[in-house]
Symmetry: C2
Subunit: 396 residues, 2 copies
């Protein structure tokens, strides 16, 4: 008696659950320390201590009717001002309180934005590989997600293919930078190329193409790499941000949407996103957490922990003969499967107690995603298992 | 460039904003204490002190990776167990952890539930007057909200009209008990009648009709009135609960959906609601707040405050000749407009610095909603203004 449209999701959910149960079964059988689980993108460094300090200060000092109460659906003005000020300081942007909407995480921000702009039959473009949930988000609003095939040499966006994919139905392009699942950072050069193509095509098709930048991994950048701030390069940009990774608060559902004041039809778009939050049941971003991130806006969790894992896992895998683009962001490695059908590789790994996710789950078969948000010991201890796996596939 | 489907919401949002600005203008002009604002359903008693105590204890004692981290999309097992145990104790139900989904408030719960069950062209019934946002919630999933005309004598559900309104497209009935905007509590007798009709009609049409009970006001019941727990009376019931009013946490977005294990297709329905939370961007209910309500599950905010306001405002209005069903729940009075077009009444009141909302906003013109979640002084001080208003309309 569930909706026909939900049947696929429910079925797929069972598959994920089976994977999860398999992990538990292995841990029970061999001990948790002998299972090398790289399947989940779940932050594993704690939130900065200041978050909990500020939470305690807020509940002690601020009126409970404010701390836990309703505010404007767009969020506390003070929080939105803090976000705008931080962005100005870091990226020399000129957002004000009227351009920032606090939302319940980037997934909420994406959904509210898509609800605000999409009519049935509209098309939304995305570069593969990508977080497969985007397909659900776009389908929620009766529009169509159109994939642009990956450039598997570099996993940078294929801008020529983007140009070809745009037509009069194109309403938006979703960009995920740093990228899940590849960990690649799209640099300034490619962002400029994308901006050029979108600007040209907007004129051709006679309406804006929104560049929706999904940036939960923005602060997870290594080797001094910089993640370009898209609104500096392209007028019709919308940024969906989450504090899930930067402050290790994934369970709290807290982030923002930034809508630059130069964007086409700014006021209606801003209001439409706020209304979308309301009518889809989000209402507002969690209040105490808004006040907490406001006070910790420029803090970061321990990035060196992730960076060390990145280097250790990358070095180990490449030493053993696995092929992988060295990523500079997020907490993922996207490793080439030594056999064409990556499911075979995933299965062989499970037999050695190594868990990771096939690239088909990111619209890029022939690869696998390894999430290195694990303890460093997990990486160290997995060496023998990976060595055997490499041997099995005759690497090196 | 916003979605065509959003244009109406954006326009309507401007109307609400104008009302809000009018309130601010009056407050600036006459002083805040000389404006009697009964327009907002915004809890104004603080959360119980134990909530803040528990928040501090949790951030001090529980691992931050747990406090702020991801958990199963359905919520922490310990929180779901606490909800199930509390319901068992209070209503002798037999929910388990497998029947409770923590959600970001009742609005989130309603949306996830509707997403889980609705296909295009399905119909959802609701008794007028009702919270108008239900229309948006149902329309989000391409289904149709069908209103059942109010019985303005008692504002109890018209069960005969319900029976007539059911057809093969009917997928659900939304019940809001205690009711916004009337404050009326639907008693056991009428819930039994509704259950009887739904059970009979399910057999006729050959598929379940879900009774979705939206219960953010459940604990706000006065005069010893009891709000029947629907799952005790009807098999295919789903309860959407929020802690917004009971614990005065409206900004925190925390509640649950209860799906009894006897419901048709329980496991798929449960999974579909959890998946719906995920793919619409909710992901999970805010984590720290889950742990906080778990520890304060049977606490309540100061209900006597609301009760005193209810009596004082009701007594004053009826003394002055206004007509109103005496409500036993929530924090609203639904007052008959002395003129057929209630907009005229609303406008006349604004001229006396009294603000309330027309019944047309609840699909029940000819009435107005007054929210008494205000300071008791607001009620006391409004006597002169209401007296003049009564005179203007020749009452008594």
């Amino acid at each position: 008696m569930i909706a026909k449209r939900m049947e696929g999701y429910v079925k797929n959910n069972s598959a994920i659950r089976m994977m999860f149960e398999e992990g538990k079964r292995l841990a029970n059988l061999y001990g948790k320390e002998n299972v090398y689980d790289f399947s989940l993108g779940n932050p594993n460094v704690p939130a900065p201590a200041s978050i909990n300090d500020e939470i305690k200060r807020i509940v002690d000092l601020v009126d409970p009717l404010t701390v836990h109460g309703y505010m404007s659906n767009a969020g506390f003005e003070s929080t939105r001002e803090a976000v705008a000020a931080s962005l100005k300081k870091r990226f020399d942007t000129d957002f004000t309180v009227n351009d920032i909407i606090m939302v319940a995480g980037a997934a909420a921000g994406l959904n509210a934005t898509l609800k605000a702009i999409l009519d049935p039959e509209d098309e939304v473009l995305v570069f593969a590989p990508y977080f497969l949930e985007y397909r659900a988000y776009v389908t929620n609003y009766d529009a169509k997600l159109v994939e642009i095939a990956p450039d598997t040499k570099t996993f940078m966006p294929d801008v020529k293919a983007l140009e070809k994919a745009i037509n009069v139905k194109t309403k938006a392009l979703i960009l995920n930078n740093p990228n899940n699942p590849t960990g690649v950072i799209y640099d300034e050069e490619v962002i400029k190329e994308i901006a050029l193509v979108l600007s040209k095509k907007e004129k051709e098709i006679g309406h804006p193409i929104f560049l929706i930048s999904d940036e939960p991994y923005r602060e997870l950048a290594y080797d001094g790499a910089r993640v370009p701030f898209v609104t500096k390069y392209y007028r019709n940009s919308i940024v969906c941000y989450s504090f899930s990774k930067s402050l290790s608060l994934p369970g709290e559902r807290i982030g923002y949407v930034a809508v630059p004041n130069v964007i086409e039809d700014h006021d209606n778009l801003f209001t439409a996103i706020v209304c979308a939050c309301r009518i889809t049941g989000f209402v507002n971003a969690p209040s105490l957490m808004q006040l907490a991130v406001e006070r910790c806006i420029d803090e970061k969790c321990d990035l060196e922990f992730y960076d060390k894992n990145r280097k250790d896992l990358y070095d180990m895998l490449t030493e053993l003969g696995f092929e992988c683009v060295k990523p500079q962001g997020a907490f993922y490695l996207f490793v080439k499967s030594p056999v064409a059908d990556e499911k075979e590789f995933v299965q062989a790994a499970v037999k050695k107690n190594i868990l990771f996710v096939g690239g088909s789950s990111f619209a890029c078969p022939g690869y696998v995603r390894m999430a290195y948000c694990v303890s460093n010991d997990t990486i160290k201890n997995s060496r023998n298992a990976f060595t055997e796996l490499a041997k099995e596939f005759n690497l090196k």
